[in-house]
């Protein structure tokens, strides 16, 4: 009966109830959309930055991350790669051998990062094949280099030009050789675009006199939300002579960016819900003022204060539930639709995004936590607000209430 009474009480003032329900509804929809778009953008940004180069996890010889020199290379062995590969969330494991070298042609010389890769693996890992602008994508056994577009421009290099590389190899030996430019690749990040050079791993190992050695094993994962767990599992399964780093440890500035965006998202959502909370509180104030007499009468005929409090609480729960359920239904539909068919930019905006290496769309996240967070917030708001009627009811005197 309390349920029936609470539900029907809501519809005594239809418009007021509808306005309160609508405020909860719009808060949920706006909050979900805002969070979903911001998180989608962040996930895309992280995916983009991580996917451009570092990947989600890397395994090095212990100490390499702090001192990235060829003295800290690791010996490649099949059992190490197999131990990493057997983790359920791991999709690819690929060795890299990287060091700084001088790249020279004609009159120009530039310092750059030379990365020895297994081209067939990196095609999947960082989608290197999609970044090819000119030339062919190198095979694992080809001789030649793939040079980033910005670096090629600085060195005034074209396809099939010869590039001279000079550097220090393993254990201090001099590394010098010349290679044909087979491919020009383009990266969204100017830092990568102006300073990267790829060559097949075997060729890099020969160049640096580091046979069967690598500076890192780059690991790609199926589910990027499980990176930390996968990192721990890899750590457990391999020798402590290696270190396992996740993308957050490798690119901390991106983590800071995500954190600052999350804080601004939190502030906006907080403001939104504060507005709704004030709206709901105003409704409760009116409700308690209007129904003093009735509450007194119900106490007079034998209804306990606890039952009255439960009835009023149920009324605010119903309002929150209806608004929240409707808001979630609409926002889940919208975010899933936007996720399946993202809004695509056109014209200059599209070009700008694509030049940066991002898809020219507004990405949306459909992470379940976005939806249940709203339910938790609304539940907390309802609970906090219900303190007011509880206090009013606890101090209610049937006779005084009926006199008012």
């Amino acid at each position: 009966m309390l349920f029936k009474l609470a539900w029907r009480n809501l519809w005594r003032n239809k418009y007021r109830t509808m306005i309160t329900v609508a405020s909860v509804f719009f808060a949920v929809v706006l909050s979900v959309l805002l969070t979903s778009i911001q998180r989608g953008a962040m996930q895309t940004l992280v995916k983009g930055i991580v996917g451009f180069y570092s990947s989600y996890i890397q395994v090095h010889k212990k100490g390499y991350f702090d001192e990235q020199t060829l003295d800290n290379v690791m010996e490649l062995n099949d059992s190490l790669v197999a131990s990493i590969r057997k983790q359920p969330n791991v999709t690819h494991v690929s060795p890299r051998l990287e060091t700084f070298v001088l790249a020279s042609t004609g009159e120009s010389t530039e310092g750059c990062m030379m990365v020895g890769i297994v081209p067939s693996e990196e095609k999947e890992l960082i989608k290197l094949g999609s970044k090819v602008r000119q030339g062919i994508y190198l095979a694992d056994t080809d001789r030649g280099v793939m040079i980033a577009q910005g670096l090629a421009q600085k060195l005034n290099l074209k396809l099939n030009d010869t590039l001279i590389l000079l550097g220090q190899g393993y254990q201090g030996v001099t590394a010098a050789d010349k290679y044909p430019v087979k491919t020009i690749v383009s990266f969204g990040s100017p830092k990568l675009n102006d300073g990267l050079l790829f060559m097949p791993l075997a060729q890099a190992q020969r160049f640096l006199s580091a046979e069967n050695k690598a500076t890192s094993l780059v690991v790609a994962v199926k589910d990027d939300r499980l990176v930390n767990k996968t990192q721990q599992e890899i750590e457990k399964s391999i020798s402590p002579a290696y270190e396992v780093k996740n993308w957050q440890q490798m690119i901390p500035d991106v983590v800071e960016l995500v954190k600052s965006k999350s804080s601004s998202e939190f502030v906006v959502v907080l403001l939104l819900y504060m507005l709704v909370a004030f709206g709901m509180f105003a409704t409760l104030l009116m409700l308690m003022a209007e129904r003093q007499f009735e509450l007194g009468m119900l106490m007079a005929i034998g209804m306990k204060k606890a039952q009255l409090a439960r009835m009023i609480f149920l009324e605010s729960v119903f309002v929150s539930l209806v608004g929240c359920a409707a808001g979630l239904l609409v926002s889940i539909t919208i975010t899933h639709l936007l996720s399946a068919h993202p809004i695509t930019f056109g014209g200059e905006m599209k070009k700008m995004y694509e030049n940066m290496g991002f898809e020219a769309t507004i990405p949306t996240s459909t992470d379940p936590s976005i939806y249940y967070t709203q339910v938790i917030i609304i539940a907390v708001v309802s609970l906090v607000l219900s303190v007011y009627p509880m206090l009013k009811i606890s101090g209610l005197n049937a006779l005084k209430a009926m006199r008012k």
């Binding site: 009966m1 009468m297 106490m299 007079a300």
Partner: protein, 235 residues
């Protein structure tokens, strides 16, 4: 078992004791027996409603005691008093005060739900009570669709639903036209006669006073006259 339902002893109640004291009840003592049909009368401000509120446990006297079937309700805690009211006292208010969102049936049933009475008994008793007050055909109608007289009859049925020791009615006919008032009094008299239900009214209404079998007059918070229980039932 004693036939005395209410035994009020030397009741005193003063409002605003610290500012402008108003002595609402001044040394009132009275006893009510089962089956009485009594009217509390007196001019406005004489203390009728205050006495009714004290007898109903809605207010507490400054001194004195109210024994209902031997239990001193002035000593009960607030929560126990609510429970006591629920199981022992029926209320009829001047402005009907039905729950507007419940139908006539639900309004009557509500009291029994608070008493945790089973569904079958509730349904049977609701039907009987609404038939007794002549509203068997209005069971599923909300108060807003009933006339004042009909609403007051639902209020009578609601007051009876808890099988109370007695019913307190505060000016029950004040808002009714003469036909509805007479009809309501007939029903209450019938319930008094057939079920030996005790009714205590506060009223100005001459029609009620004429039908009452005991008239207690209050002036300035004091009982100035009491006809005592007239044994004969009204015609």
């Amino acid at each position: 078992m004693s036939n005395i339902v209410i035994d009020a002893i030397n009741l005193n109640k003063t409002y605003n004791p610290d500012t402008i004291p108003v002595k609402a009840i001044d040394g009132v003592s009275l006893q009510m027996q089962r089956g009485e049909f009594a009217a509390l009368v007196g001019p406005s401000g004489s203390g009728k409603t205050t006495l009714l509120n004290l007898l109903g446990g809605l207010d507490k006297p400054d001194s004195g005691s109210i024994l209902i079937n031997g239990t001193d309700i002035t000593k009960l805690s607030e929560n126990r008093l609510v429970d006591y009211r629920l199981h022992n006292i029926g209320f009829i208010f001047q402005a009907y005060n039905l729950v507007p969102v419940l139908t006539a049936r639900e309004n009557v049933e509500f009291i029994m739900l608070l008493q945790n009475i089973g569904k079958a008994e509730r349904e049977q008793r609701v039907a009987n009570l609404l038939n007794q007050v002549g509203l068997g055909d209005k069971m599923n109608v909300r108060p807003s669709q009933l006339s004042g007289g009909q609403q007051q009859r639902v209020a009578v049925a609601r007051a009876l639903a808890s099988k109370p020791q007695f019913i307190l009615a505060d000016e029950p006919t004040a808002n009714l036209d003469s036909h509805s008032a007479s009809n309501l009094l007939d029903i209450m008299a019938m319930l008094n006669k057939e079920e030996n239900m005790t009714f205590i009214f506060s009223t100005h209404d001459q029609r009620v006073i004429e039908r009452a079998r005991r008239v207690i007059t209050l002036v300035d918070g004091k009982v100035t006259s009491d006809t005592g229980l007239v044994k004969t039932q009204p015609a």
